[in-house]
């Protein structure tokens, strides 16, 4: 990895991948705030990621935007760049770079399970894999997301007099949860916190079916009994949520598999729905790529590095700063 350094800087073309601070040239894997920062000069990303950045940071959050669709190549000097769908959220990609015959793939954040709100993950072979490891411990084995959604629907049937407040990350998780509910035949109006509105709208404009969604209007209090309301976890923790009468607090997150974590966040109904690969997906993909070297950007690096050792693969933790690892995505 001589031509790329630990800060994910591609030296021959002076370009950073998901840089934490403003740089000259940035490749952005997806629109989550810990990967996409405003203030870069030139940004290369998928059209969806660029649109999401503009929604979140404004039209001028970078000087120049260049779109690279998935599965198309772009050659800059001697470096070949190609995006492959990462299956994480709308517009998310892995970045495959090739220089002098050596292929390095950056996974960004990814999951390999299917998701109707974004393109399905595409595996790709490489010499060196730079991977995330948010759920890089063998205790993380995500259950089927449809079974989790059924838990929410069951609870609504059982406690039809209580509002169900579901904590979701505004970008990706919110839309996926809505979409999963629709897949299960839930066709009632779904209510959302104001901060989710624009992003839901953007997803709908991209032909992702979210059905009827309405912004919460807190002046009408009792109307929310038996309804599903989606809001970022921070809103659920603050005064905003006090306006609901005796709500059931739910949270959709991969972290929810740990009961004590759910308990700490006062979550009554944990829904284990993750947009990151679990332990089995992470290790299976490392094997698939045939990579000789594996660099772990963020997450539970130690266990993945140890697993690599057990499997005769060179593993190294990069411990990138600035990743919102502890936040409940």
């Amino acid at each position: 990895m001589k031509w790329i350094d630990k800060n994910l800087h591609i030296k021959p073309i002076n370009t950073h991948i998901d840089p934490y601070k403003p740089v000259e040239n940035a490749i952005i894997t997806h629109g989550h705030a810990d990967h996409a920062k405003p203030g870069h000069k030139n940004v290369l990303a998928t059209s969806e990621t660029i649109e999401i950045m503009k929604i979140r940071y404004g039209e001028n959050c970078a000087e120049n935007f260049q779109i690279l669709p998935t599965n198309q190549s772009l050659k800059i000097n001697d470096v070949l760049i190609k995006f492959f769908p990462a299956g994480h959220i709308l517009g998310s990609v892995q970045v495959l770079t090739e220089y002098k015959g050596e292929k390095i793939n950056f996974t960004g954040d990814y999951k390999t399970t299917s998701d109707q709100t974004c393109k399905d993950f595409e595996p790709v072979k490489c010499h060196t894999l730079v991977t995330e490891a948010t759920f890089g411990l063998p205790v993380f084995q995500h259950p089927n997301e449809n079974e989790e959604i059924k838990k929410l629907l069951k609870s609504i049937n059982l406690f039809s007099e209580r509002p169900h407040l579901v904590g979701v990350y505004a970008l990706g998780k919110a839309q996926r949860v809505i979409n999963l509910l629709r897949q299960q035949g839930y066709d009632k109006e779904i209510f959302i916190h104001g901060s989710l509105e624009k992003l839901c709208e953007y997803y709908q404009n991209n032909n992702i079916d979210l059905g009827r969604i309405t912004k919460v209007n807190l002046k009408k209090k009792k109307d929310y009994n038996g309804e599903i309301i989606l809001a970022p976890p921070s809103a659920i923790k603050n005064i905003w949520s006090r306006k609901f009468e005796d709500p059931i607090i739910c949270q959709a997150s991969g972290w929810m598999s740990i009961k004590q974590r759910a308990k700490q966040s006062l979550v009554e109904l944990p829904l284990i729905i993750s947009d990151h690969a679990d332990w089995n997906e992470l290790t299976k993909y490392i094997k698939f790529t045939d990579a000789e070297n594996v660099y772990v950007t963020h997450g539970r690096e130690e266990a993945i590095v140890h697993w690599c050792k057990m499997n005769n693969i060179n593993g190294l933790a990069l411990s990138l700063s600035g990743r919102d690892d502890e936040e409940q995505l």
Binding site: L137, P138, V139, F140, Q141, P143, S257, I258, K259, Q260, R261, A262, K263, Q264, L266, V267, E268, L269, P270, R300, E302, A303, H306, W307, M310
Partner: protein, 521 residues
Amino acid sequence: MKKFSELINKLLLTSSRNRKIDILSNYFQNTSDPDRGYTLAILTNELELRNIPISRIKEIVFENVDNELFTLSYDYVGDLAETISLIWPHKELGSLLSISEIIDVLRNLKRDEVNKTLKNYLSIANETERWALIKLISGGLRIGVSSRLAKTALAKFSNKKLDDIEKIWHGIEAPYDNLFNWLCDEGPMPKIDLLKTFNPMMLANPISKNDFKTLISSQFIAEWKWDGIRVQIILGKSSVKIFSRTGDDISQSFPEIKNSADSMVILDGELLVGRDFIPMNFNSLQQRLNRKKVTQKHMDEFPAFIKLYDILYLNNEDLRDKTWKSRRFELEKWFKKNDNNYFDLSNVIKFSSWDELSNFKKNQIIDDQHEGLMIKKIDGSYIPGRPKGYWYKWKKDPKNVDAVLMYAIRGHGKRSSYYSDFTFGLWNGNQLSPIGKAYFGFDDNELKVLDKFVRNNTIKKFGPVREVEKTFVIEIAFDAVNESNRHKSGVALRFPRIKRLREDKPASEVIQLSQFKSDFL
């Protein structure tokens, strides 16, 4: 097992006390015998599966999971049952037996069947069932349900009185068929053997500054709060039973206490060691506690006796509904008739104002003998539990010392992701010597500060224990210091808690251990 595991999962995630009671009450209503009885036993900590040590479970896990990956996972999750339930790699078809059937199987397992059976159970269980199964074996659910809450739910679902349930509780056994028959109006209230059954004790509330303003001193008397352990003594014709405050039978640790009387009586008192009814310090009493075998040497060196506070039963007559005054009268009458070597009356202290009592406390308290004062309402009856307005404890002022934070370990249950158990020490020359551990006293914000300090200042890890930079000073409050040959420092603190964080104080200003000893020992 499915029903049981879902119950405890729900209880864990429910924070409202009333909702927990509802969940439990529904469970008791809709579950048959003996499943609900065994569940009750587990929730109240009355069930132990002694034949399967938790080390056996770990052994099975390490046969199936890489040791290092397990350690990293456990360190992250913080709860053993949860780590194992999540990491277990095998999934097989099948369904687990009911909770009572599983308990029956586990109790009767032969040694060489344990691993095979458990491995099978772990594989056919779902994740929540696995978690429940390991909790069942390791004991101690830590799901925020007290024994009292479980009994409150029993009272709710059956419309019986909680006090009635408490009265017979210690005389009945899992799976409590007779209890549930009575609760469901299908049988009589279970009869219990008075001579063998612990009766829940009456406990005191700490007295506050405000109480002195509102309470009328003439309605109360005081007694010393002797520094021993509170016990209930049941004397039969030739039998003696001694129970600790929590209902543990500790009779066999004190075989010298015999009954010379021919009456049946249940007494309340303080167990102490000493000669001529003069108590030695708590440390001496500790030499006698938790011993299965008692030697003559121990009995000679630390002879036990009991200071009597109260009387609950006399010759099958329940005195608990009488006032303290008339119970005291009965107690003194019984004592005069039956004076012997093992019982002494705890004196009644009379006073005419709170100030007078305060002065008495200040001047008369003997550090080694007294924990403080008890204040009791003269016309109050003996009410099990901790009723408000009757008995108060007025502890002596805590002692304080500033010490340096040395090691930390993660807590359990709700605190499993926080470093919340702390070891602290004093200087011994230019080295620190640990003098104790504390895991409470701080509030949530202070815990966050401590946790952050530990994470950012770890210098070494020993398994789950983190050694930290010796720069953080904490003020420790404690009730007493005893000499101890079990601890390297030679001292043991009683009831240590973290009173304050002293971020302002440099560690170099913390005192020497020798200074501490000469100040407090």
